[in-house]
Structures are given as structure tokens and as C-alpha cells.
């Protein structure tokens, strides 16, 4: 192992990062490969692909992901900001290009050059917002105005795609960061009542939103044919698995679950490995999120604190929404389970986000923090 006496960059990195967080993330990645092995073969067969097509591709994606993770976790906060700015600009450009030239898949224009640029936008967005709020608290308005302006700039292209899941995720993280940055309660109440009011208005006047909602609450009331097949099948998986599951590869419900390898991988986990394994998975996510937030709360650098909190919220909200949808606690949203669901862009972007997280959570001497925040804000 590395000695504490050694002063190399690697040793410095090893002793300053949060190793428990690293271990939990590693466990998630291993879970992800195992579960993709369980969930993806039926999907691959349905599509006429080789049985382990998705498993191989996922394993292949892990190589660049791990590289991205380590590279980004070595960055200093200052370099994190710069990297995020570059990623943000590039992925925004790609999103706009996808909107104009991309092919339409399932009614949305999200893909260009085989990647989904909105995935990369998310961690970069969080870093930029954290930066803006940190500056805002220091110099009053300009930073705050920037933080306010970034939200519409980011979500308008997402709405145009349309990708309501990502829009919701980005907006929720933005609100969360705003709250953490020290927003006055009057605004907390104001913004949340605007949000609730907006939802009520949408429910009352936008038939599509109302139909979605009604379909979720009571499929019978909307009349006609209701498609609750996916969610019913997912629930059925949990019952089929019981406490301890049917055993790896023994699942049958997964064969008819359309998005078994992506959005509904949690349900496949339930069928093959049981509710106990699902609880363990929930435990790992909860551990990462709560431990991360508690550590972050003690971080003295305002930018690092906000950035870490934002990245953890991004990760946590995404995982919670995915699991809640699988358990029919929420209406269906296209959202993947971080590190578990299949998806190349998704796993690389998560690696980038977690790399940033490890980087901003590194322990640093207090003098360095003070020096940084006084001298060079960028």
C-alpha cells in the first residue's frame, strides 16, 4: 500500500480522498455488471442480438469510464471548474446539433454521434451552478444572476428534445443547490408555491399532463385502453422474486419486461435476487448519498461544498426516482439507475460526475482553501 510518507501525486490523492465512498461506488459498479448480466440477455434476444451483447458493451464502456473517473478525481477545484465549463459548452453544442440534425428515436431527438450529450451536461451544469452560487454569496448579485440565467439556458433545449425526466432532474438539483446556498425562507416558500401552482395549472389545463397523472392514480378513469403493462410487469417481478429471489438467470417475468436492462433493472433485481438484495442496493445508494452529504456539510470551501452537495443530489435524486418508478410510487419517467442500468453515455457521465465529486471532496489544508477563495476565484 501507499505510505503516508510518500509525497507523490498518487499517494497524495489516495490519502486525501474519501476511500469509503470510493469503495461504495466500486461495489455499485460490480452490482451493475452482475445485474446487467441478469437483465439484458432477454432484451438482447428480443432484438436479435447475441445473448451477452449488452453485458460486453457495458464492460467495454467501463474502461473509458474508469479512466474518466480517475482523471477527473485528480483535478484541483479550479481545474474542475474549467473542465466543467468546457464539458458544458461542448455538450450544449452537441445537444443543439442533435436537435437540428439528430435522428428521432422514440419521439425525441437526444442522440448524436452515438452519444447522448444531455448526460454529460448534468454534472457540468451542477459544477457551474455551484460556482455561480459560491461567487454569488461572496460578491452579491452577479454570481446569483448567472445562476438564475443558467437554469433556463440548460433546460430549454432539454424541453425541446423533449426529455422531461432530465428537465425535472436538473431543475430539482438547481432548487436544492439554491436552498443549500442559503436562500431565504421567503424564497423557499415562494418558489415551492410557484412550483406547486405550476403543477396544478398544468394538471388543470394541459390534458396530456392530466392524462398521465390520472393513469398513474387510477388506470380505470381515463377510459379506453390503458397501457400499464410495463409497470404492472415490474410489480409482478417483485412478487415473483419474494424475499430471496428465484436465483440468477431463473427469472421469467423479466422476459416480457421491455426496458429490463435500463429503466426497470431494479425490478429484475427483485425477481432474481430477491427483495433482500433490493434492500441492500437501496442501502448502498442511501449510504453514498447520506455519507456524502454529511461529509460535505463540514467542508469549509464554499464552492467545494456546493459542488459536492449538488453532485450527490444529482446522483441521489436519479436513483430515488428510478427506484420509486419501479415500485409504482411515481408515474413512469425515463430515468436510469446510476451505475446499474445499461447505457454508455450514462455510465461515462456518472464516472465524470463522481470523479468531480471525489475531487471536490478531497481533504485540503485550510490555508489552501483561504488562499484560493481570496486570490483567484476562477
Amino acid at each position: 500500500m501507499l505510505s503516508r510518507l510518500e509525497r507523490s501525486a498518487l499517494a497524495n490523492w489516495w490519502w486525501t480522498i474519501d476511500r469509503w465512498l470510493l469503495a461504495a461506488l466500486g461495489a455499485l459498479i460490480i452490482f451493475g455488471i452482475v445485474l446487467t448480466m441478469a437483465a439484458s440477455p432477454p432484451v438482447a434476444e428480443r432484438l436479435g442480438l447475441p445473448t451477452f451483447h449488452f453485458v460486453h458493451r457495458q464492460a467495454l464502456f467501463l474502461i473509458p469510464s474508469i479512466a474518466v473517473f480517475f482523471a477527473s478525481s485528480f483535478l484541483t477545484p479550479r481545474h474542475v471548474r474549467r473542465a466543467a465549463l468546457i464539458v458544458f459548452v461542448v455538450s450544449m453544442g452537441l445537444i443543439l446539433a442533435a436537435l437540428m440534425f439528430g435522428a428521432e428515436v422514440k419521439g425525441a431527438r437526444r442522440w448524436i454521434f452515438g452519444i447522448q450529450p444531455s448526460e454529460f451536461l448534468k454534472p457540468a451544469f451542477v459544477i457551474l451552478i455551484a460556482w455561480a452560487f459560491a461567487e454569488g454569496a461572496k460578491h452579491d448579485l452577479p454570481g446569483n444572476i448567472l445562476a438564475f440565467a443558467l437554469l433556463p439556458v440548460t433546460i430549454v433545449p432539454l424541453i425541446l428534445q423533449p426529455d422531461f425526466g432530465q428537465t425535472m432532474l436538473v431543475s430539482l438539483v438547481w432548487v436544492g443547490l439554491f436552498f443549500i446556498a442559503g436562500l431565504r425562507w421567503i424564497w423557499v416558500v415562494g418558489i415551492s408555491s410557484i412550483g406547486v401552482g405550476g403543477m396544478l395549472l398544468a394538471y388543470k389545463f394541459v390534458p396530456h399532463v392530466r392524462a398521465r397523472f390520472l393513469k398513474f392514480i387510477d388506470p380505470g378513469t381515463t377510459g379506453g385502453v390503458v397501457d400499464t403493462f410495463q409497470i404492472d410487469t415490474a410489480i409482478d417481478s417483485f412478487f415473483a422474486g419474494g424475499w430471496f429471489g428465484k436465483g440468477p438467470g431463473e427469472g421469467t417475468v423479466k422476459r416480457i419486461l421491455p426496458d429490463a436492462h435500463t429503466d426497470f433493472i431494479f425490478a429484475v433485481t427483485g425477481e432474481e435476487f430477491g427483495i433482500v438484495a433490493c434492500l441492500a442496493l437501496v442501502g448502498v445508494f442511501a449510504y453514498i448519498v447520506i455519507r456524502g452529504l454529511m461529509l460535505t456539510a463540514r467542508n469549509e470551501d464554499p464552492f467545494c461544498r456546493l459542488a459536492a452537495a449538488g453532485l450527490i443530489m444529482l446522483f441521489g435524486i436519479q436513483s430515488a426516482i428510478n427506484m420509486a418508478v419501479n415500485l409504482h410510487l411515481m408515474p413512469a419517467k425515463g430515468m436510469t439507475l446510476p451505475f446499474i442500468s445499461y447505457g454508455g453515455s450514462s455510465v461515462i457521465s456518472l464516472a465524470l460526475g463522481m470523479g468531480f465529486l471525489v475531487a471536490v471532496m478531497r481533504k485540503r489544508p485550510r490555508a489552501a482553501i483561504v488562499l484560493h477563495s481570496e486570490a483567484n476565484p476562477a
Binding site: 452560487f133 454569488g136 454569496a137 461572496k138 460578491h139 452579491d140 448579485l141 446569483n144 436544492g176 436552498f179 443549500i180 446556498a181 442559503g182 436562500l183 431565504r184 421567503i186 377510459g223 379506453g224 404492472d232 410489480i235 409482478d236 417483485f238 412478487f239 415473483a240 419474494g242 424475499w243 427483485g270 427483495i275 433490493c278 434492500l279 437501496v282 442501502g283 445508494f285 442511501a286 448519498v289 447520506i290 452529504l293 454529511m294 460535505t296 456539510a297 463540514r298 469549509e300 464554499p302 461544498r305 456546493l306 452537495a309 443530489m313 441521489g316 430515488a320 427506484m323 420509486a324 415500485l327 410510487l329 483561504v370 477563495s373 481570496e374
Partner: protein, 593 residues
């Protein structure tokens, strides 16, 4: 608190430079960074709660494995399960199961795939060789080759002696009458799952639960479903309607017969329809059940409701006179009469001349709230639910003002399903009892249980009188079949095309009661865009098409339903009106003799 000294220092002098007001204003926008530690912990607590809820639901699933059964509603078994027979009111079969043989393959056991494909396609030329080849080449354990084959085909396949090809007994749903009553029956798919109509209703009533529970059900041990339909009447009704639709070159048509005392639907047809034995195009939007799924402006047929409302509220009597001297103005709108008389009209005249002005005036006497309450009571503002799963919500104006009340009074601005309108007219003429329509056979006692009295018996008799009068001297003469003492009302609604009422596209409806002195059956016919013909002097109003078709239906169906013709009119058909002093009702109308 662990506050950040540098941040605070830069903050303070900045503020001091501003004046107090601006400073206060700005301070609203500043972020209190020192709060963030506490708030991050609050967020962590929130996440903890969310994960607890997720874990809680998982544990709940684990503790209640019995919920699974409740959740599974309709399973699509590979082998078509048995379904009960569906009978008409006289016991004639409308839908039944027959045993058929289906051919399946176990692709893993097939030795020579090309040979199997060759030989099977020579017996079944309609199988696509490429598709079959792909099926047999898959690694599945079981695939269907051909469902429901003939005994001869079965014998031929048997003699091929192909390994990996087998036979299985299945149930196939058969509808011996083809498209007759197709919309009521709906259909079941090849796996024996009800897809629409009564077939779907049967599944919802617990059939699929029994099958899931593993009961070995056969057609013999399932209780047949007895419907309210009369097969002969349904056939005649559909036949006359089809002739009418062809003659008047209408886009579509619908007709039904309702027993007004029991709420039973005796016959129903909606054209174009489909053959449930081969329901490939049953989901075509043009083939909806126009009686329950389509909503339409009922036109003047609705005037019966408005007049009943005014009579029942005591705002008018049959002797009242209404001012129809000139068109009725309301804001920018003017209400005209189609057969304008330019004088005061009595209530029976308003009905027989189908006066929009008179009806609108009567509705205004009752007022907007009273009108809404009445239509609500008559079931015109909510979705009508019957055994048929397909139904549609009426289109009710969002902001209902006086103008809406005036137009709805004569049948514009409120779209309802035709069966819904029939239910209301049935209540108007049967003595004032609101009876929910049904497609299952039931007795009068059952129907009257929980059936509310919605208008007074005297009002109901007035409406019967008005409809009879209209058949004698008004627009319903074409349906006045001798001996049946018919009463009726026409309705012609201009269709709305691109948001405007069209001049040349109409939807015509006709309601008739038989016999008018003591109604048993309510007949309804509707035609979508009938054309004017030379023999109708190019008129396309309801009397000429829907009315004439209704007349033919009554003449043909009357004997089947056992309505006794009376060739001397009843001596005192409307006794309550006579008691109330309105003797004119029981006299032969002027001009008929």
C-alpha cells in the same frame, strides 16, 4: 457555526455604500451562506426519508405476497380458455365457443427446417414461408404454426409425420350472426381474452379471475350470459338502417330500440360495423359504436327535454302562448325559426313547428341554474356507463351562460351520446321514471328498483301527447305507421366543420314512441350527412331520412316484438290531461279527417 470569514468581510463594506432602502431590497436576494451546513443536513435527512419509503414499499411487497393475485387481472394464456355463451333475450346464441385444433411446433426438435416449411406451406398456402422459417429457426420451446385448422388440414399435417410438430385442442370464439349486434358483443381475441363490448365486460366480472385461479372451465359449466337483445329485431333494424344509409348516401348511421319500462336495449346497430369473427378492422375509428362512443348535438330532439322541463317546473302549461313574432336577439346572436310563423305560438305549436325561439324562451323562464340541474337529473351532463366498456363523456360547455341555455334548449351546444339521449326521452314518456339502460335481460321490477321519479306523471303524459300530435300533424308523419299510434320528434343539427356550423352537412335524428298512449318501445335513428334526393325534393332534414327509416323499422319490427296493432285509435289516450281540463288532447286533431 462555522462561518467563512473572508466572504463576510467582502460583503459588509459593499452593503454600507448603498442607501438603506436599496440595501434592504438587495439583502432579500443575498444568500446566507452560514446556513448551508444545517441545510445540507436537512437535505440528507430528506434523502434518508425517501430511501426509507422505497425500502418500506419493498418490505411491504415482501410481507404481502397474496397481493399478486389481486393484481393480475387478465392473463393471456397461451391456450384459449373457455368463455360462456352469450344469448339473446329468447335464448338464441349470439356468441359461443367451438372446439378447434391448432398446430404448434417445438423448434428445437425440428430436424429439417426447410422440409418442414415446404410441406407446411403446401398445406397452408396463406402462411408466409419466410415468417414460418424465422419462427421455426428461433430457439423457443413453443411457437404456434396455425390456429384453428380444419379436420382435413389436421389429417394432412398428421400424415406428414414431421417431428416437432404437434396438435392442441383449443376453444375458438364464434359469432354465428356475423356483424349483427357486433358493437354490443364486442369480440374476444384468439387467446380467449375479451377485447371489447360484452366480451370484455364478462372478463371484468370475474371470468379471468376464475381462469387464473386454475379452474378447469368449459363452455358447458359456465352460466350463459342472457342479453336484452332480440336477434330478429336487431337484424331487421340493421337491415333497414343499412338500406337507409345506402339510399341517402350517408357517411354513417345508428339506430336502437329501447324498452322504456325496463331500460333494456332491444336492438342496436351502428354502421359501418365489423364482423367479430374477423375483427381485423374493428379498431378503425370509423367503426366506433356511435350509440355510446360518439357524442353529437341532438338538434330539435332535445326540445322535448326543454319543454318537459318548463312544463314540470310549472313555468308554462299546454295552453301558454310564447312570443315567436320575430327572431330572438341575444348580444350578437340571433335565434331564428326554421319554419317561422311570426306570431304567438302555443306550447303544442312550438313543438310541432319545432320553434327554436319558443323553446329558448321556455328555457330562459327556468333559468341557467334550473336548466343545468334538470339536465343533470336527466343524466345528460355525465358519462353514461353501461355494461359496454366503451363510453364517451358528453361535451358540456365550460362557461354555461344564458346563451348556452338558449341554444342547448333546442339542441345546439351540448353533445351527448345517443343512448344517453334515449335514456332521457325514455324517462320523459314512461311516466317520469329515470331508468338506467342495460344490455342484460331484466324485469320491470328490477328496473324500477332505485329508479328515481324525475318528472311528474302529468308532464310525462303531456310529452306523449305532444309527440303523438307531432306524428299526426307535424314533422313525424313519415313514421306514423297505421295501428301503432306512433309519437315522434325529428332533429336536424347542422354539423360543425372547422369550427363553424356548416350549411350543407347535417346530422339528423329521430325519436319515436310506440304506442304513444302507453309507450313500451322507444325507437331511435341517426344519420350522419344524409344527402337530399330527387324524391325528397332535395330536403335533407330528419323527417325525410331518419324519420322515414324509423317508420320502416317500426313497420317491420313491431310484429316481431308483439306490439298489437289497433286500427281504431284509443278513445281516451291521455286521461290525465283530460282530468286537468285539456280536452283537446283526446279529440282527433284538426285536419286529419
Amino acid at each position: 457555526m462555522e462561518t467563512e470569514a473572508p466572504g463576510q468581510e467582502e460583503h459588509a463594506p459593499d452593503d454600507a455604500q448603498h442607501n438603506v432602502v436599496l440595501g434592504r431590497l438587495l439583502s432579500l436576494f443575498t444568500l446566507k451562506r452560514e446556513k448551508s451546513t444545517r441545510r445540507i443536513r436537512l437535505v440528507a435527512f430528506g434523502f434518508g426519508l425517501v430511501y426509507c419509503v422505497i425500502a418500506g414499499k419493498l418490505i411491504y411487497f415482501g410481507l404481502h405476497p397474496e397481493l399478486r393475485q389481486a393484481m393480475q387481472q387478465s392473463s393471456s394464456d397461451t391456450v384459449a380458455a373457455a368463455r360462456p355463451d352469450i344469448l339473446d333475450r329468447n335464448g338464441v346464441i349470439l356468441a359461443t365457443d367451438v372446439k378447434v385444433t391448432s398446430i404448434f411446433a417445438e423448434p428445437r426438435r425440428i430436424i429439417d427446417r426447410d422440409e418442414a416449411v415446404d410441406q407446411l406451406t403446401s398445406i397452408f398456402p396463406d402462411l408466409d414461408p419466410r415468417e414460418l422459417e424465422a419462427k421455426l429457426g428461433s430457439h423457443k420451446g413453443f411457437v404456434w404454426v396455425k390456429r384453428a385448422v380444419t379436420p382435413e388440414q389436421q389429417r394432412q399435417v398428421y400424415h406428414l409425420g414431421l417431428p416437432g410438430i404437434g396438435f392442441m385442442q383449443e376453444n375458438k370464439r364464434v359469432y354465428p350472426n356475423g356483424p349483427i349486434a357486433a358493437h354490443v358483443l364486442g369480440y374476444a381475441n384468439i387467446n380467449g381474452v375479451g377485447i371489447s363490448g360484452l366480451e370484455k365486460y364478462i372478463d371484468g366480472e370475474g371470468l379471468s379471475d376464475l381462469q387464473n385461479a386454475g379452474f378447469n372451465l368449459t363452455t358447458e359449466n359456465l352460466k350463459p350470459i342472457v342479453t336484452s337483445l332480440d336477434l330478429n329485431a336487431t337484424y331487421a333494424l340493421r337491415d333497414e338502417l343499412a338500406k337507409g344509409v345506402a339510399k341517402f348516401k350517408a357517411k354513417a348511421g345508428a339506430a336502437a330500440i329501447l324498452d322504456v319500462n325496463t331500460g333494456e336495449v332491444i336492438a342496436m346497430a351502428s354502421l359501418p360495423d365489423f364482423d367479430p369473427n374477423n375483427p381485423v378492422d374493428a379498431l378503425d375509428p370509423d367503426k366506433i359504436n356511435r350509440m355510446t362512443v360518439g357524442v353529437y348535438e341532438m338538434g330539435s330532439t332535445f326540445k322535448a327535454l326543454s319543454i318537459a322541463m318548463a312544463l314540470d317546473a310549472g313555468k308554462v302549461t299546454l295552453n301558454s302562448k310564447l312570443d315567436a313574432r320575430e327572431s330572438l336577439r341575444y348580444g350578437h346572436f340571433t335565434i331564428h325559426d326554421y319554419h317561422a310563423q311570426h306570431r304567438f305560438l302555443s306550447v303544442p305549436e312550438v313543438f310541432t313547428y319545432s320553434s327554436n325561439i319558443g323553446t329558448a324562451r321556455m328555457a330562459l323562464m327556468v333559468g341557467v341554474e334550473g336548466h343545468k340541474a334538470f339536465l343533470h337529473k336527466m343524466g345528460q351532463l355525465e358519462r353514461l356507463r353501461t355494461e359496454l366498456p366503451e363510453s364517451a363523456e358528453p361535451l358540456v360547455p365550460k362557461n354555461w351562460g344564458e346563451l348556452n341555455t338558449m341554444t342547448i334548449a333546442f339542441g345546439q351546444g351540448l353533445n351527448v351520446a345517443p343512448l344517453q339521449a334515449m335514456m332521457a326521452v325514455g324517462a320523459l314518456v314512461n311516466g317520469g321514471i329515470m331508468i338506467h339502460p342495460t344490455f342484460l335481460k331484466r324485469s320491470e321490477e328490477e328496473a324500477h328498483r332505485d329508479a328515481p321519479q324525475v318528472i311528474k306523471p302529468e308532464t310525462s303524459e303531456s310529452l306523449r301527447y305532444l309527440m303523438r300530435l307531432n306524428a299526426e300533424i307535424g314533422s313525424a308523419r313519415k313514421a306514423d305507421i297505421d295501428g301503432y299510434f306512433v309519437g315522434g320528434k325529428t332533429g336536424t343539427a347542422d354539423k360543425i366543420i372547422h369550427g363553424h356550423y356548416s350549411n350543407d352537412k347535417v346530422l339528423t335524428t329521430f325519436m319515436a314512441i310506440v304506442p304513444a298512449d302507453k309507450p313500451k318501445y322507444l325507437f331511435f335513428t341517426m344519420m350522419d350527412e344524409p344527402q337530399g334526393l330527387p324524391e325528397t325534393s332535395y330536403y335533407r332534414t330528419a323527417a325525410w331520412n331518419s324519420g322515414a327509416v324509423t317508420g320502416k323499422i317500426i313497420a317491420r319490427v313491431g310484429p316481431m316484438l308483439g306490439v298489437t296493432p289497433r286500427f281504431t285509435p284509443p278513445s281516451e289516450p291521455f286521461p290525465l290531461l283530460a282530468q286537468a281540463g285539456y280536452t283537446a288532447a283526446n279529440l282527433p286533431p284538426p285536419g286529419t279527417h
